[in-house]
């Protein structure tokens, strides 16, 4: 079946994402079936502080790709409330016009405690949209926590969105976060202070250990549709740089590895927990009659002897 045809089966795509997101019965078969068809979409991770304009910018960039005839998928992730387990996912507000476009597919996800972790659920959703025909895929996350950093690692290009007036926040973001940006956008360039933000950013980037790729800083306004072409060019250049240096292969190899390890981890943990001795060994650890290494060794032995299913 050709990619365009699969892309038109919106309900089916949506249901597949629900199945993998919730680890519903049959989700493994879905991923097994689509896996070989993945690898065609270019994945752009878009991150930055809340309110920076990530969704608006996703919408603006998506329009450009759509005009070029490409199919665009968006996975927009917002935090789940730790208190109620509920969430309000509001990224579509900025993308309403595109939501009916046949080349567009937008899906919102909460950071709720998915089985196997958020990045695994996101990776599965990425694979589904990729296999179903997306040419470009955006993953939008709020750039704060560790799990979000894990997610943007799924991306081929990470776009960090900054805005004027963050003040000290920009300093706070430095630790561990600046390093993951491949392209920087100072959004809301229509507001005062945007130039200063760009200068600060560039200064900060110059303190990072030197790399072959120097992340460019683009000034844009998602609202007034300014600077978007330059930003798109910067993304393409990063893409080309990576392709020329074998980096895309590297990233994808790492994703393959993470996917495999995540499945192995889940399966081993499930298997071990169903072992009768699991509780018993835990109890003995509490009594200090066994150490965790020895307990693990005994449980691993159990894995070897029941590996037929």
């Amino acid at each position: 079946m050709d990619r365009g045809k699969r892309w038109r089966e919106r309900r089916r795509i949506a249901k597949m994402i629900t199945a993998v997101e919730n680890a519903l019965p049959g989700h493994e078969q879905i991923l097994q079936e689509i896996y070989k068809k993945t690898g065609n979409a270019y994945v752009i991770g878009i991150t930055g502080p809340p309110g920076a304009g990530k969704s608006s910018l996703t919408d603006a960039l998506a329009r450009g790709y759509i005009e070029k005839g490409l199919r665009v998928g968006v996975i927009a992730i917002d935090p789940t409330s730790p208190f109620s387990g509920g969430s309000i996912l509001g990224d579509r507000i900025r993308m309403n016009e595109l939501s009916t476009h046949p080349q567009m597919f937008i899906r919102s996800m909460g950071t709720r405690g998915q089985l196997g972790g958020l990045s695994a659920a996101t990776h599965s959703a990425v694979m589904i949209l990729d296999a179903c025909g997306a040419d470009v895929l955006f993953i939008e996350t709020v750039g704060v926590g560790q799990s979000e950093i894990e997610i943007v690692k799924l991306a081929d290009t990470v776009l960090m969105v900054m805005v004027p007036g963050l003040g000290d926040d920009i300093q706070a973001m430095k630790a561990g976060i600046m390093e993951i940006g491949d392209v920087f956008a100072v959004n809301k360039k229509d507001l005062p202070g945007a130039d200063k933000t760009k200068i600060e950013l560039e200064a900060m980037l110059s303190f990072l250990p030197p790399r072959e790729w120097r992340p460019p800083v683009c000034m844009v306004s998602a609202m007034y549709k300014e600077g978007l072409e330059e930003l798109e060019v910067a993304i393409s250049e990063h893409r080309k740089f990576q392709a020329d240096h074998g980096r895309l292969e590297q990233r994808r190899m790492r994703n393959a590895q993470e996917a495999l390890l995540a499945i192995l981890r889940d399966k081993m943990v499930l298997r071990v927990k169903s072992d009768d001795r699991y509780e018993e060994l835990l109890q003995r650890m509490m009594e200090k009659t066994i150490d965790p290494y020895e307990a693990a060794r005994q449980l691993m032995e159990g894995l070897d002897s029941c590996s037929e299913d």
Binding site: R10, R11, I13, A14, K15, I17, T18, N22, T80, S81, S84, G85, G86, S87, I88, L89, G90, R92, I93, N96, E97, S99, T100, F105, I106, R107, S108, G110, R112, G113
Partner: protein, 131 residues
């Protein structure tokens, strides 16, 4: 962990404020639901496209503009066209009693008028969502 109920909250029509929709979105969130909030001035087509892509179990629209007797049946019709008729479809807003029977006939499962406690809407959804 039980997966949260996914609800689309949308505000069709041309009138300019979404206080009611936001109140209901927060109430659903606080009740542990995952709310996809699409904001103001949605066309029925946009609402249904979002509902399909998000694979929600409930479509909840807040309406003030008085155009409910055309907009709501239109949304239901589009859901049917997309084979998404199994989604629970509810509405809230200033809707005269006389119109409620007509809307229910057109496939709106429940109509919540101003003054209905949000807990009632939450309860209704929990009871009627198909799993």
């Amino acid at each position: 962990m039980q997966r949260p109920i996914r609800v689309l909250v949308a505000k069709p029509g041309l009138d300019g404020h979404d206080r009611g929709a936001k109140v209901i979105a927060r109430a659903f969130r606080d009740a542990g639901m995952e709310v996809i909030y699409t904001g103001l001035r949605q066309t029925p087509e946009q609402i249904v496209a979002a509902a399909i892509q998000e694979d929600v179990e409930v479509v909840a629209v807040s309406i003030l503009s008085g155009a409910h007797s055309t907009l709501l049946p239109r949304i239901k019709e589009l859901l049917k066209e997309e084979n998404a008729d199994d989604m629970l479809f509810v509405a809230g807003g200033v809707i005269p009693d006389d119109d409620i029977a007509f809307l229910k006939e057109k496939g709106v499962a429940a109509v919540f008028t101003p003054g209905t406690p949000t807990t009632l809407a939450v309860e209704f959804i929990r009871e009627h969502v198909k799993r």
